[in-house]
Every structure is written in C-alpha cells, then in structure tokens.
C-alpha cells in the first residue's frame, strides 16, 4: 500500500509485529488517486474540514433558522454555545473586546467540532496536526500583535517593561517577558495538537492490544475509559485555546504593565 511505502524501507508490519501502526491514522492522504500531496490536492484533511464547516453551519444556521421564542433542541444548543463564548469574551477582554467576538467564536466552534468529529471511529482529526493548529495559533499571535501596535503604538512595548518590579531587575525581566511572548504561539499550538494527537495515539495503541485474546477484555474497558477522557479533553482543549486567545487579546487591548 502507498502508506507503507511512505515509511521507507520498513516492512508492512513496520518491524513491530503490529498489523497497523498507531501513527498511521494521522497520515494525510489524497482523496482521489494515490499521487503526491501538493498544495491544492483534495486530501482527507480537506474532507474533514468541509464536514466540520457543514456541521457548524447545520447547528448554528439551520438550528436557529426558525428563531422560535421557545427554542428547539438545536436552537437551544446553538444559543448555549453563543452565550458561553460571549460571556467568556466579555468577562476576560471587557466590553471593547466584544468587537472580536466573531473571530473567537469561529476559533472555538472550529476546534470543538474538529475535536468531536475526530472521535467518530475511522475518522480523521484535523486539529491533531501541528500544521493546522500552528496556523490557528500564528494568526492569533500575529493578529493580536498587529492589533496592539495599531491601538497603542509604541506604548504596546510597555507590555514588557514590568513597572511593579525593582528598576535593576527590569532589563532582565524584559528579556524574559519578550521570550515568553514569542513562545506563546508555540505553546498555544503544541498544546492543542499534542493533546489531541496523544489521545488518539493512545486509543490506537490500546486497540492494538484487543487483538491479543488474553488481554482483549481489559483492552476494551480501557478504550472505553480513554474514549470518555478524550470527549472531555476535546471540549477542554477547545475551551483552553479560546480562553487563552481572549487573555492574549486582553493583553493587547489593555497592556497591563
């Protein structure tokens, strides 16, 4: 199969005796044909991102299309999601951060739907790839930095000059603050991608044990337990990505130091 060829000189069982490799589920494969993955190839990533967008539209647009006073179930869920993120943005960034609510809502809905769609067996999780989460995080970082400079000009650099510390310490603290500012997109992206990829890889590893008759009952119980954990992680990681975006936005809108 083409996937095995992609692993170089390894044999079909990857030299480990397993029929499938736990990391095979993360391979990006073209949907049609077997060619190389170029810039505009339709891959399984494209398919699952499209499914994510359709699912979000089905919930938010179709669900609320009736605009009933007594909401239906979908309208209720859509309103709950909207209210949850609206309250979060308002609490963390204040009233003037609400201008950026559409962006933050888009981020949250995309990540939470991608994570949950990845829990369907035999599906593909787009947010488990550092390529996807890095783009999300770098756009947040660049956008918020540009926003900070546009709103405050050079005073935005006051973010790094900690006035609550003794004067002698401030240059060292400034260096530390600048480094930790630039590490933000790195940790922001790796946190989401790492959590989701780790969860799915663990599920696959336990699924491999189910082939061995002696441990297969334990393996099935373990898969169920870890699946429950993954449902929680899917939601919590989307929430954490979003609330950290709000915190960084608050830093840009009101540089505290």
């Amino acid at each position: 199969m083409a996937t095995e060829a992609a692993h170089g000189a390894e044999t079909a069982d990857h030299g480990t005796g397993l029929v499938f490799h736990p990391m095979d589920q993360f391979m990006v494969k073209p949907l049609f044909g077997d060619g190389p993955v170029g810039w505009f190839t339709i891959t399984n990533v494209t398919l699952w991102m499209a499914i994510c967008v359709l699912a979000i539209s089905a919930l938010m647009v179709l669900g609320t299309s009736r605009r009933a006073i007594i909401p239906s179930r979908s309208q209720s869920v859509a309103e709950l999601a909207y209210g949850f993120i609206y309250k979060m943005v308002e609490d963390v960034t204040g009233k003037d951060g609400l201008k950026y609510f559409p962006y933050i809502m888009t981020l949250f809905m995309f990540i939470v739907f991608s994570n949950f769609l990845g829990l369907i067996p035999m599906s593909f999780t787009t947010t488990s790839h550092i390529a996807v989460t890095f783009v999300l995080a770098i756009l947040v970082f660049v956008g918020i930095t540009v926003l900070g400079f546009v709103k405050h000009g050079a005073h935005f650099l006051g973010l790094f000059w900690v006035t609550s510390a003794p004067l002698a310490l401030r240059p060292i603290l400034a260096v530390i603050e600048i480094v930790s500012y630039f590490v933000r997109p790195v940790s922001h992206s790796i946190r989401l991608a790492g959590n989701i990829m780790a969860g799915h890889a663990v599920l696959k590893v336990f699924a491999g044990f189910a082939a061995i008759a002696a441990v297969s009952p334990i393996s099935v119980v373990a898969i169920t337990a870890i699946y429950g954990l993954e449902v929680l992680v899917a939601f919590v990681q989307a929430y954490v990505f979003t609330i950290l975006t709000c915190v960084y936005l608050k830093d840009a809108l009101h540089p505290a130091h």
Partner: protein, 78 residues
C-alpha cells in the same frame, strides 16, 4: 549515527521522556488541589475562578505534552 546504537538511544530516550509526563501529572494535581482547597474554604468565590483553574491546568499539562511529544519524535521521527 545509524544502526542498533541509534535504536537503543531512541528507546531509552523515549522511556526517559516518560518522567516528564509523570511530573506534569504532579503539576496538574498541584493546581487542582489548591483550587479545591480554596473552593472548599470559599465556595461562593469558586465559581468565578473556574476559568483560572482551567488555564492553570492547561499550562501545567502543556509541558507534559511537550515531553510526550519528545518521546514520540524520538520513536517515530528520528
């Protein structure tokens, strides 16, 4: 370097990176335990700090994920 020595290094490195995950578990437990202690002391203020709790847990857990990432990189990407 290639060959058996590199494979040995990969496996030992990946195993040692497991310590990072254990330490991350300690860190997350620390955050959650302190939140619980504070919440039981002042329940009405606890609801307003759940956001801080999740942010704290996320930061502590992220570093554990970094060490898991190192283990995966050593095993499958070297």
């Amino acid at each position: 370097m290639e060959g058996e020595l590199a494979n040995l290094g990969q496996f030992i490195g990946a195993g040692l990176a497991g310590f990072g995950s254990g330490l991350a578990a300690l860190g997350v437990g620390n955050v959650a335990a302190n939140f619980l202690a504070g919440a039981l002391r002042n329940p009405s203020a606890a609801a307003s700090q759940t956001a801080t709790l999740f942010i704290g847990i996320a930061f502590a857990e992220a570093l554990g994920i970094f060490s898991f990432l190192v283990a995966l990189l050593l095993m499958f990407a070297v």
